[in-house]
């Protein structure tokens, strides 16, 4: 079987799995809804852009701004209660879980390839810690960041940290990967101190800040999805276009140069895209660990190291994985009001990673 066919089959299989996981997840919860109804509501929720509407603005120079309008594709008959539960409560959370899972898995795959290191994860250059710093600042000292909400503050913190680490590690137009790694560790340590300081002085915001940092999807809205999904999709598609460069970079930068890759430019682009999609995911869902580490490993064992097949399959598997674990967080422990999904991913992911390590499926450095 040649590679394109393999890619297609794996992707189709994993996409089907994702649909099944989404429908199953939307069906379970405190109210059980049968999967057919879930499917109908889901299809009803599907919209296509139908036009542009001009709405008035408060800004003096701009009279009106364009807003896209959407119209539904399907209109199945469903009970109102089921429609509300599925479309307004469960689906946004599921869609966000899928988006964040996809982002983290893609970014993890890219970072592991980029750093030629199986222990790399999406946050290796400080994206998550930066997001956490931004979020905790917004929660603990809202007066400090009045211009931005929690999401934007976290997003800016994440991207800003990645940029800072990159700038520190770059000298004379070259960015050695080892320097990048160490600069990332140092900056994360500093931000960790900053976060601890802010937590100590966060007063009433402490609980919210801690829950945010654990990774959470419980308050998801369609607005969160609209923020993270476009970034995740566009970023992942562009990254998929660089699959061959990622493959060649695995040989090392010198060999990549000799095989026609503009190494520094490609590194910057890969790092920027992986950081931005991670930042978008982390900004809305907090720090969710192990997805970006474990999913690429498992997929590499199943489909091999070639990024042309690894990236799309990791993306789909990451989405399914986070939807499934978030369902466990949501349903499996309803004696507690909230179990942050980050606890579930770490509780499942860490032992699984150790299992891979002991089986020598994850190679030593």
């Amino acid at each position: 079987m040649d590679r394109p066919t393999r890619t297609l089959r794996w992707s189709a299989g994993l996409a089907a799995l994702l649909v099944a996981v989404v429908v199953a997840s939307a069906a379970v919860g405190s109210v059980r809804i049968d999967p057919v109804t879930v499917a109908k509501v889901t299809l009803n929720a599907a919209v296509v852009p139908s036009g542009i509407e001009w709405t008035a603005t408060d800004l003096p120079a701009v009279e009106a701004r364009p807003t896209a309008t959407y119209s539904p594709v399907f209109s199945f008959e469903v009970p109102d209660a089921a429609a509300t539960i599925v479309a307004d409560v469960r689906l946004p959370r599921i869609a966000l879980a899928a988006t964040v899972g996809l982002s983290l898995a893609v970014a993890g795959t890219v970072m592991q390839g980029f750093f030629r290191n199986p222990l790399a994860d999406p946050s290796i250059i400080g994206v998550s810690t930066g997001a956490a710093a931004g979020a905790v600042a917004a929660i603990a000292f809202p007066a400090l960041v009045p211009f931005a909400g929690l999401h934007l503050s976290a997003f800016v913190g994440a991207v800003g940290t990645a940029f800072l680490v990159y700038a520190i590690a770059t000298e004379g137009g070259r960015t050695p990967v080892a320097t990048l790694l160490l600069a990332g560790i140092a900056v994360q340590a500093f931000l960790g101190a900053l976060i601890s300081y802010m937590l100590v002085h966060s007063g009433d915001g402490l609980r919210e800040a801690v829950v945010w940092m654990m990774g959470h999807l419980h308050a998801s809205t369609w607005g969160d999805v609209r923020f993270a999904l476009p970034v995740a999709l566009v970023g992942s598609l562009v990254l998929a276009g660089f699959s061959r460069e990622l493959n060649v970079l695995l040989l090392g930068e010198e060999e990549a140069h000799h095989l026609g890759v503009n190494v520094e430019r490609t590194k910057l682009l890969l790092l920027a895209l992986a950081s931005v999609i991670t930042a978008a995911g982390v900004a809305v869902a907090g720090v969710i660990g192990f997805v970006g580490l474990v999913v690429p490993h498992v997929m590499r064992l199943l489909v091999g190291p070639d990024h042309r097949i690894l990236l799309p399959t990791s993306a789909l598997a990451g989405a399914s994985f986070l939807v499934a674990t978030d369902t466990v967080a949501r349903v499996g422990a309803f004696s507690l009001p909230v179990v942050p999904v980050g606890i579930v991913t770490a509780a499942l992911g860490a032992p699984f990673f150790l299992y891979l390590l002991k089986k020598r499926e994850v190679h030593a450095l």
């Binding site: 061959r244 140069h257 026609g260 091999g304």
Partner: protein
Amino acid sequence: MTVELRELSVSLGGVDVLRGVDWTVDRGEFVGLVGPNGAGKTTLLRTVSGLLEPAAGTVHVDGEDVAALSARESSRLVAVVPQTTHLAFPFDVRRIVEMGRNPHRSRFSPPTPADRAAVDRALAMTRTAELADRPIDEVSGGERQRVLLARAVAQETPVVLLDEPTASLDVNHQIETLELVRELVAEGRTAVAAIHDLGLAARYCDRLLVLADGGVLARGPPEEVLAGGTVERAFDVPAAVTTDAITDSPAVRALSPAVDPTELPDAVHVVGSGPTAVGILTRLDALGVDVSAGPVPAGGAVAETARELGVDVRTVEPFSPLGRADLESLDGDVDRAGATVLADLEVGTGNQLALETLADAAPALVVVERRPFEERNHAGDRAAERYGRLRREGVEAGPRGVLEALVRVGGASAGRPPPELPDEPRPGDD
């Protein structure tokens, strides 16, 4: 010409690694880059491949200034075979070879028939087709080297650079790899390889470039370059260059510098037979001693070695007895030399009188034996008696101890004027 360096200087971290290198390589040549560690071989290759930028001077490949080209453009002109490759994630062999097509492919289009054909041809040529579906980390070191070569072949560049392609290989794989490079060159490609093993370099390369201390020490056909003390100057070690009888290419042996060459007698005369005499002659010559030899049978191993080294040698017709003139010549040689070495001489009725003459050389006589005298004596008891006297009056030594013995007897022949040191050759002189 395909590769042309003009006044090329390269510095790394503020240190000048190459200084003013001028060099051209013609199409279809296999050039070996030799020189000690730190001589700038790898730096030169990296500059030709466009990885490093010259501090001064230019590198042109196929008429293009490499420093001005993008990675993509330069990788269509120059392919590089690294010493080895490390992969954190194991690709299969075919994927690795396909990466050689990377410079020729556009981002989103699938591989063209030309891409596939190039990969298949490269796999076939390097005999790696049967490995195509194996992960790269499951093939042996020699196979891996062939895969890297296949990748360079698939890259279809006019120039292939190889950085120590044989350094980590068994001898059979070294030869296999270099034979493959020769095949590439036979197809009209140009190959430049940094090679540690001077013998292999001499055997497979059309020309050599000897780098030392950032400059060119010598260049040209191997037999020219390796003669005339270049190896000693480049590597700062006494070395013996002979012709390998089997491959008919120069063979280089670095010698132990355990003995300070200045303590050796200025001139040494060698009388002897077989490999023992050949070895001593070669080592002494390599150490800069003024060596003479004979009488030896014309056309024999000792006479041939002496002729190659340009050593004064007195030859006699094989199987004919020594004449008066031969013995007088020997007497003269022994007188002139600071010491004489008697090395495993085959004694027959024809040459046993030489033993009489050699008695004059004692005590500055070193008697070297590898084979027992009884096996070498074809002239009976009288010869054995004469030989026994030389043993007693001279200094006995094993083949390895001959230099130390010469230092000792050199000291014994005091009264000679102290040896004049030759002018120190300067690296960079051509």
